[in-house]
């Protein structure tokens, strides 16, 4: 099988997963034991509600409803949010929320990796020594503290007591770098603490295992320096797990972001989910979950691809498998 057809197959698999996810959410909404139109238009007339039922396809049964939603979704129509005074487009909401969340994720991942990589390499190199033991213990504790706890503590100390940073809100990059980052620092710290410890622990374990391999002894017998061996021969194969784990932790990160965005009032995608549930905006909920799943699945695909670049073995194994 060629590489291209392998990737096509992989993409097809992901599409199936996506379809099943969105269908599942759609089905879930139909399970609600109440009339959706009544929830969306609590004060409207029965005629208006009937119109809405036809518009959204509530009258078509689960599969018909899903197909209609899907058809609209792929054309970019993500449905509406219903207020007492009128409606707003979900896509407008998400277009506003997406960059906030994306930036938050990117900053978090970058921060986490930037701290975890040197820390992991160092503690693997000095395994069993004091520095390694101390880092391990601190990181272990950190990994067990939920991100909302860190967020709340940061708000109490840095936001309220010291009043160094604003505790609520968001400013886009166009408002100035400092403007932007002063709203981002605390959310990013809250979200990255757990990741730092996950990544460091993984990288450390992987590198310790790699350091025992024959190819490391082989590299040493060529007369290479420790630094060269560490980065060129040990870090690269170990970074594969790191990459995979970065993809896997994306899910936890998105979940964490919902809480953190609501605590810091960042109004990102996570907040939209929160808002959709609080305000019973089920169309918004369905489309937002679909967008999140799409993003998550896409990210996994990218990681899969890059694994192939980092470790040629997986490339071949997958082509063969």
């Amino acid at each position: 099988m060629s590489k291209i057809s392998f990737w096509l197959q992989r993409v097809a698999q992901l599409l199936i997963v996506l379809l099943l996810v969105t269908f599942g959410v759609s089905l879930l909404l139909r399970l609600i034991p109440v009339d959706l139109a009544t929830i969306l238009l609590p004060v409207g007339s029965e005629i208006e509600r009937d119109l809405l039922r036809t518009e959204l396809g509530f009258d078509k049964g689960p599969i018909g409803y899903y197909l209609q939603w899907l058809g609209d979704f792929v054309q970019g129509d993500m449905g509406k949010i219903y207020f007492s005074g009128g409606t707003e487009e979900v896509s407008t909401h998400l277009r506003n929320a997406m960059p906030r969340s994306l930036l938050l994720m990117i900053y978090t991942q970058v921060t986490a990796l930037a701290i975890a990589i040197p820390l992991g390499v160092l503690s693997a190199y000095r395994v069993g020594r004091r520095a390694d033991k101390i880092t391990s213990n601190i990181l272990f504790t950190l990994s067990s503290i939920p991100n909302f706890a860190i967020a709340l503590l940061l708000i109490i100390f840095i936001g309220v007591k010291l009043a160094w940073l604003p505790t609520l809100g968001y400013a886009p990059l166009s408002d100035g770098i400092w403007e932007h980052f002063q709203y981002m620092i605390m959310p990013v710290i809250s979200l990255s603490c757990g990741l730092v410890s996950t990544y460091t622990r993984l990288l450390r374990a992987d590198m310790i295992a790699a350091l025992r391999e024959d190819y490391v002894t082989m590299a040493a017998s060529k007369g290479l320096s420790d630094r060269r061996i560490l980065w060129r021969h040990v870090f690269r194969p170990s970074s594969l797990t790191l990459l995979t784990s970065a993809a896997l932790s994306m899910g936890a990160l998105i979940g964490g972001a919902i809480v953190i965005e609501s605590i810091f009032a960042t109004y990102g995608v996570g907040f939209e989910v929160f808002f959709a549930i609080q305000g019973r905006q089920y169309v918004l909920l369905q489309s937002t979950v679909a967008v999140i799943a799409l993003f998550y699945v896409f990210f996994n695909l990218v990681v899969d691809l890059s694994c192939g670049f980092v470790d040629p073995r997986t490339r071949d194994r997958r082509v063969n498998a």
């Binding site: 002894t217 082989m218 017998s221 060269r228």
Partner: protein
């Protein structure tokens, strides 16, 4: 004859959860320049640890070592880590048992072969790659230019072992440690690799330490043999002399117990009773005494010292074979 490498009083112990593991015990070994020396032993005999320690490649915080290693007139054990490193490549090099695990799985063959050339000889990337291609041709890899661009997993076991040999000889070492270089290979490929090593040794005037568990491999490929058991060198002699006139009961028993293609089919094999000694509990007497058919009380209670025949044949036994005659 001058020694290229001499090991004196080497002891290597590992701190383990089960207690102190005595891997290498009081080993003296001379590797004459230009010669090939076989180190034979079963698993746990300390042969691999001894070689890695001699080269200064043994790492880990739980290793305790003592003894002196002199290579090419300079004492390795007195050098700093970076000075020892200077010796690698052009002084000493090593090849390993499993070429799959000894080559970095995620780097191309070209970068792995040329790495030593660039770091140790300071070649440019282009020169180093050109030289790498020559090296691959030297170890008879067909299509060398294409192989440079491959990853280890894309090669067969025999080809990988050839790549490893190419890496080891890239800076023309004086001494090559070959640690079970053919154990992971099929018998027809093993024969090819052994032949390649013989030819390279002749062409490059290289000394070799060949570590193996296979007395057959030793017989055809070495000038001297050191037999190891339970961390000690128990016998050392010229290969021809050793096979003709062995002194250690262990060596004799080992040779007798190995099935050969010349023996009668269906014949009962001679057996060494018992099992390999526990490396954390070496006991007082001769390590082989519990399994030795000649053992007497003295063997069980007193540890034999290394004795030497006038012709240089060394052995560690109270009642060596042939002495009674």
């Amino acid at each position: 004859m001058s020694s290229l490498l001499s090991v004196k009083g080497m002891n290597i112990n590992f701190d383990t959860s089960r207690g102190l593991l005595e891997a290498v015990r009081n080993v003296d070994l001379e590797i004459p320049a230009g010669m090939s020396v076989g180190v034979v032993g079963e698993s746990g005999s300390g042969k691999t640890v001894m070689c890695r320690a001699a080269m200064g490649l043994l790492q880990g915080s739980n290793v305790k070592r003592s003894g002196k290693v002199v290579f090419d007139g300079r004492e390795l054990t007195a050098m700093s880590k970076s000075e020892v490193r200077e010796q690698f490549g052009s002084g000493m090099a090593m090849i390993f048992q499993d070429p799959m695990t000894a080559l970095n799985p995620v780097r191309r063959i070209g970068s792995q072969v040329s790495e030593g050339l660039r770091v140790r000889l300071g070649m440019s990337k282009k020169d180093a790659l050109a030289r790498s291609k020559e090296l691959l041709e030297l170890v008879r890899i067909p299509n060398a230019a294409a192989v440079l661009k491959l990853f280890p997993f894309q090669l067969s076991g025999g080809m990988r072992q050839r790549v490893m040999i190419a890496i080891a000889i890239s800076c023309s070492p004086k001494l090559l440690f070959a640690d079970e270089p053919t154990t992971a290979l099929d018998v027809t490929v093993q024969a090819q690799i052994l032949q390649l090593l013989r030819e390279l040794r002749e062409d490059l005037k290289m000394s070799m330490v060949l570590v193996t568990h296979d007395l057959g491999v030793v017989a055809g490929n070495t000038d001297y043999v050191a037999v190891m058991y339970a961390g000690e060198v128990v016998e050392f002699a010229e290969t021809k002399k050793l096979f003709a006139d062995m002194r250690m009961p262990y060596t004799e028993a080992l040779l007798e117990s190995i099935p050969t293609i010349d023996q009668k089919s269906g014949a009962r094999l001679a057996v060494i009773a018992g099992r390999l000694p526990d490396p954390t509990d070496r006991g007082a007497g001769c390590s082989f005494a519990p399994r030795c058919k000649y053992a007497q009380d003295k063997c069980r209670n007193e540890h034999p010292e290394l004795k030497q025949d006038p012709d240089g044949h060394l052995y560690r036994c109270w009642f060596p074979i042939g002495e009674a005659k």
